[in-house]
Symmetry: none
DNA sequence: ATGCGATGCGTCAATGTGCCGCAGGATAGA
DNA sequence: TCTATCCTGCGGCACATTGACGCATCGCAT
């Protein structure tokens, strides 16, 4: 029988983003299989198909980082696949965790299909990566800190606000605007 | 023969910060060996001492080339040491690379001695339980960060505001009121 | 003397934050 | 099933902070 075609497994529960991505990836020659939520991934992992994906994009945009929980088993079932973690709430803490848990790369949304494919291909650490010209802005620092504490509290906004001694409403508003550039 | 004492290797070229850290770590029971620049690290790596450090703190802000470059050899010479990468210019990209290159953890400045020791001890990815530490409030964190950057710029408010990508007037106002609050 | 950048400060409009309240969802126990 | 609790998203409003602009002053090197 003929060799089966390589494909990409997209784990993502954002419907519109997911469909867009499927199309964009297909246009670039990647057949995409999709899983829409953590449960689907669990059952998929319980009985993996004979033909395994060559690449995996794991979106952990869900409340809390339950997506990270899936990583170890994913890596176990797919020792040779390239796994990319994608998130709209990127932080250094979760990036570090993701790599430790076996991800090959980590990307912050918004990311284009090209960004994603590039991140999956270009896995070698860049030694030249000089330090960015400026220190972290206060905003970025605050964002990182909040993400860390949020993670420590399993994504519980109220508890995080209490721990941070800030108002729940304020935290909520901060989290509502996704991109914290600088 | 007597067992030699575990010690920590601090690789950092910021004189004031380094001395502070050495003292703070000593107060917490860690003898510290220090290397002040990339060259010193190179020669140290060429002829490592018989008694190797148990923990390493590598500051990426080494003058000249990136401290990231040193990581692979460090890891090679010290397969069993805990290596923490510390940087005032944190970014997700360098965090990912640092972990890939063998760092056990990655921390952004400003970081206290306690932060550092904690980061060196708590290497497990944050899946299950959260560290029960009391998080700093965002305000206090911001204040400390500002103080640090301000110091790095010799107290130059305009330059600091530029580096932090914030308004000079705003920085000025923040500094005007002393109460650091929480 | 002249130019340049840093500093302190006033003002005003645009944003952000503290605080209150409410409705809906999830959950644990009676 | 009913109920008490906790969390969440969100509207609204008064007050606080920030961004942007301008201006006078000061130290310093040319």
């Amino acid at each position: 029988m003929s060799e089966q075609q390589a494909y990409l497994l997209l784990i993502d529960d954002d419907e519109s983003f997911g469909q867009l991505m499927v199309r964009a990836l297909a246009r670039r020659g990647w057949p995409v299989e999709r899983l829409h939520n953590a449960n689907a991934v669990e059952t998929w992992l319980d009985v993996p198909p004979p033909h395994l994906p060559e690449r995996v994009v794991l979106d952990l945009n869900l409340a809390g980082d339950s997506g990270l929980r899936l990583l170890p088993r994913l890596r176990e079932v797919l020792p040779d696949s390239k796994i990319l973690v994608l998130t709209g709430f990127a932080s250094i803490a979760t990036a570090v965790d993701a790599i430790k848990l076996g991800a090959d790369n980590y990307l912050a949304k918004p990311a284009s299909a090209d960004d994603i494919l590039h991140a999956l291909d270009d896995l070698e650490p860049n030694l030249e990566q000089a330090a960015p010209e400026a220190p972290m802005s206060v905003r970025r620092l605050a964002w990182e800190h909040i993400q860390r504490v949020l993670a420590e509290h399993d994504g519980n906004i109220s508890a995080t606000a209490r721990a941070l001694n800030m108002h729940r409403r304020t935290l909520q508003r901060m989290l509502a605007k996704k991109p914290v550039s600088r």
